[in-house]
Amino acid sequence: MTNQNISLVKVRNTLLVTMPADPDDVTVTTLQEEVLGAMEEYRPKGLVLDISAVETLDSFFARTITETSRMVTMMGGQTVIAGMRPSVAITATQLGLTMVGTFTALTVDRALDLLTHLHPRRRIR
C-alpha cells in the first residue's frame, strides 16, 4: 500500500485537508470523521479540501466529499474543493458526477481567497 495518510492542518481560520493520490474506501470514510472532528476541535471558518494529488475520483469518493461538505455546512463551516485535475474533471463529468452544492477552486490559493470572500473579516474598532 502506498501512503494513505490524510493531512489535516489548521492555517489561521481554515482547515486545510490534503487527500492522497489513490485513497482506499477506509481512507475516504476516515476523511469524513476526521474532518468533522477537526471542525469541532479547531473551530475553523472554512475547510479547503485539496484533491490536486487525486488521480481517480469514483462515485464513492465523490459522494463522500459532497456529503462531508454538506455536514460541514450544517456545523457552520464552508467547504471549498481545490485542485481537481483536468483528467479527473473530464472523467467525473462523463461518469455523471455532479457534486451539487460544493464550492470549487482551481488551486488552494484561490480556495483561500474564496473563503475570505465568503467570510469577510469584520473590522473591530
Binding site: M1, D22, D24, D25, V26, E55, T56, L57, D58, S59, F60, R63, R85, P86, S87, V88, I90, T91, A92, Q94, L95, G96, L97
Partner: protein
C-alpha cells in the same frame, strides 16, 4: 482478435477495489494511453469492481490486452455469480441504482469506455465486459 497478455484479480473486499484500480493503472500506462483515458479506464474499473463487491460480495476482474488487426486495446471483464440483473434495460437507465445509491451505475461507465457488453442471468450471475482502444 488475439490476446497479447491476460490475467485476473479476485474482488472480495474493499481493498481489492484499490488493487483492481492499481492493476488497471499499470496496464493502461504500459499501453501508453493518454492521461485522460488512463483516468477513464481506472474510474470505470473502480465503479465495476465496486458493483461486484456491493451487489454480490465476490467476483473476479479478468483483464486482457487485445490486438485486433493492429489495433491495441484493453479489455476488462467483471464476473460474478450473484443474483443477476433482472432488468438490464432499467439498469442502463441513467441515474438508476439499487444499492445504497452508490455507483452511478452502468450508463456512466459506458460513457467512459469505447465498448460495453453485459451478459446476465437471474440466479446465475453477471458478466460486464468493457474495452478501450488505443487512439493512434
Amino acid at each position: 482478435m488475439s490476446d497479447l497478455a491476460r490475467g485476473n484479480i479476485p474482488i472480495k473486499s474493499e481493498n481489492d477495489i484499490v488493487a483492481a484500480r492499481r492493476v488497471v493503472r499499470d496496464l493502461a500506462t504500459q499501453l501508453c494511453f493518454g492521461v485522460t483515458d488512463v483516468t477513464r479506464v481506472i474510474t470505470a474499473a473502480s465503479e465495476l469492481a465496486r458493483n461486484v463487491f456491493l451487489y454480490v460480495g465476490a467476483g473476479v476482474m479478468w483483464w486482457s490486452i487485445l490486438d485486433r488487426s493492429g489495433e491495441v486495446g484493453l479489455e476488462l471483464t467483471f464476473e460474478d455469480h450473484g443474483a443477476g440483473i433482472p432488468d438490464v434495460e432499467q439498469a442502463m437507465t441513467p441515474g438508476y441504482s439499487t444499492s445504497r445509491g452508490l455507483g452511478l451505475g452502468l450508463p456512466g461507465v459506458k460513457r467512459l469506455m469505447d465498448e460495453m457488453e453485459i451478459h446476465t442471468e437471474v440466479g446465475k450471475g453477471t458478466t460486464v465486459r468493457v474495452r478501450k482502444w488505443l487512439r493512434k
